[in-house]
């Protein structure tokens, strides 16, 4: 279970030091380092990123959720289409989903024009793609499990029995 405990700690905050994770899991620091190396080598942990609230920054960041419908044939499966789409740096997430459309694609760019051009010039022309529906993100309230509100003050009394 130690692997799972380390993973949970990293998922909570990837910037916890290995010393702190060791304290939380009752492992030695060297063991924590070894577990993290294993998780990375096995491809369980694919990376570490900051969760950013773009509304707090001056420079605009345009993000969109794009629904994609595709047509498959004998030679082309979902994986083949996905393999092409993930190559674009504009694509930040791509998932095959159930329901009315096939892929749920997240796209990022510096402006609406840039994102729109990317969809119309790079994505829509892919022969297997039959339809795209683009939803621009207007406000984000929660990202990666983190609420982006102003945060609640701890209103507990400083002492209670």
């Amino acid at each position: 279970m130690s692997e799972r405990d380390v993973l949970e700690s990293l998922r909570e905050n990837a910037r916890y030091s290995t010393a702190d994770i060791a304290r939380m899991t009752d492992l030695e620091e060297s063991e924590v380092e070894a577990v993290i190396e294993e998780l990375e080598a096995a491809g369980v942990v694919r990376g570490y990123q900051a969760v950013v609230d773009w509304d707090k920054l001056e420079d605009e960041r345009v993000r969109a959720e794009v629904e994609l419908n595709v047509r498959l044939d004998r030679e082309t499966g979902y994986g083949d289409i996905a393999e092409r789409l993930v190559q674009f740096p504009e694509v930040t997430a791509l998932r095959l989903v159930s329901g009315d459309y096939d892929f749920d694609m997240e796209v990022e760019g510096d402006s609406i024009r840039e994102v729109s051009q990317f969809i119309s010039e790079k994505v829509a022309p892919v022969p297997e793609i039959t339809q795209t529906v683009t939803h621009y993100v207007m406000t984000s309230y929660k990202e990666n499990g983190i609420e982006l509100g102003d945060g609640e003050e701890d209103d507990r009394l400083s002492y209670s029995p």
Partner: protein, 394 residues
């Protein structure tokens, strides 16, 4: 003229931590490890159920003993989780916090002159509760070398064989101690032998992290003394939603006991409280029905913090016993300090609030109650400040 207060009230001093409150008010950078309640909010599903009940206008009294649906859910939960079998009609009463249930039990069971043995250090309300009910308190100090578990030896040394009632709180506030089944057995035997009624406050039951050296993943299971042979008929179990379900302000608890005891408690409850808050009862019902995963997440979180805090205290050279329950640990203050002096000094100089252990009765002197119901960042900062405080004095 002044209105004369009752002797009973005069016999109970005001809470010992009030002075600390005032000192804490003077600083704006205080990190509080003095808090006896979760830092999490009530699971959203439970809050949502409370809101929905208000929207539907469900704001009348409920049955004195609580909504039947809720008592049924409590009965199922207690049976599944802790092997406690109680009849929802006769043996369960829902109260305004477990505190009300404890008070009802004292008033229902204690006659003037009766002796109530209290395992200490313990939650601060038992002693005043006994005094308000007209009983005599017999403190039974537990010891650090026993990991603050209650033993027959300490019961005998305190003269508890002559007592009428015995109050236990495990997992314990303030020490974080737990009692395993094998620890409870001799205490149960003592209670049977000397015909003691046991009041067992199990409000922290869900927050049991390790039993018998289980591995690093959390998930120890609490044992209730009422499940031991011959104990059900002489035990009142208290539990509630404040701690595990993070519902302190909603004020909802309950007691499980034989029918005549619950009946007697209900006789007082119906004249004083009438029924526990209705909105909170809806929240509690939802909490039992759908919030197990969230409880588990909170418990895992507390467990990680517990390990962190215990490790840090040891690293900075403060002795601390391996607390395995609730959300407290109970480190020793360095030599040359009383608990109160040390707690005041770290509050004034470093802005770290902890509760001196002597507030919790005999056996608490020389210790601090440190709550880890606070985020890891704050815990790290607070422990760093205590470390700096100790280094300045080296």
């Amino acid at each position: 003229m002044t209105i004369e207060l009752s002797d009973r009230v005069n016999a109970v001093p005001p809470s010992g931590i009030r002075r600390f409150f005032e000192i804490a008010e003077e600083r704006d950078d205080v990190i509080s490890l003095g808090v006896g309640e979760p830092d999490f909010s009530t699971p959203w599903a439970a809050r949502d159920a409370a809101i929905a009940s208000l929207e539907q206008g469900k704001t009348s009294y409920t049955a004195n003993r609580g909504k039947r649906e809720l008592r049924e859910a409590i009965a199922d939960y207690a049976a599944d989780r802790f092997d406690l079998g109680y009849d929802p009609d006769e043996e369960i009463i829902v109260t305004a916090g477990a505190s009300e249930a404890v008070d009802l039990a004292f008033r229902a069971l204690v006659d003037p002159g009766d002796t109530v043995a209290i395992a200490q250090p313990s939650y601060i309300s038992y002693e005043p509760g006994v005094v308000f009910a007209g009983g005599e308190v017999l403190p039974v100090p537990t010891r650090e070398e026993d990991e603050f578990r209650l033993t027959v030896e300490t019961l005998e040394a305190a003269g508890a064989s002559e007592a009428d009632l015995l109050v236990l709180c495990y997992p314990n506030n303030p020490t974080g101690a737990i009692m395993r089944e094998s620890d409870l057995e001799p205490v149960a035997e003592f209670a049977r032998e000397h015909d003691l009624t046991v009041l067992s406050d199990e409000i922290y039951a869900e927050l049991t992290y390790e039993v018998d050296g289980s591995d690093t993943s959390s998930g120890g299971t609490h044992t209730s003394i009422a499940t031991l042979p011959g104990m059900r008929e002489r035990t009142v179990v208290f539990n509630g939603f404040s701690k595990a379900h993070a519902m302190t302000g909603l004020r909802l608890g309950y007691a499980l006991a034989p029918a005549d005891v619950v009946g007697a408690m209900n006789r007082i409850h119906q004249y004083t409280m009438l029924s526990a808050p209705t909105t909170a009862q809806y929240a509690a019902l939802e909490a039992l029905e759908s919030c197990d995963d969230e409880v588990k997440k909170m418990v895992d979180q507390y467990d990680r913090r517990r390990r962190f805090v215990l490790s840090r205290f040891r690293e900075i050279g403060m002795d601390v016993f391996e607390a395995k329950g609730a959300f407290y640990c109970f480190p020793e203050v360095p030599e040359g300090w009383t608990a109160e002096e040390f707690a005041e000094a770290i509050l004034r100089e470093q802005g770290v609030a902890v509760v001196p252990g002597d507030v919790f009765g005999d056996g608490g002197e020389g210790h601090l109650r440190v709550s880890y119901a606070t985020g890891l960042e704050e815990l790290r900062e607070a422990l760093g400040r205590i470390e700096a405080f100790l280094e300045e004095r080296d």
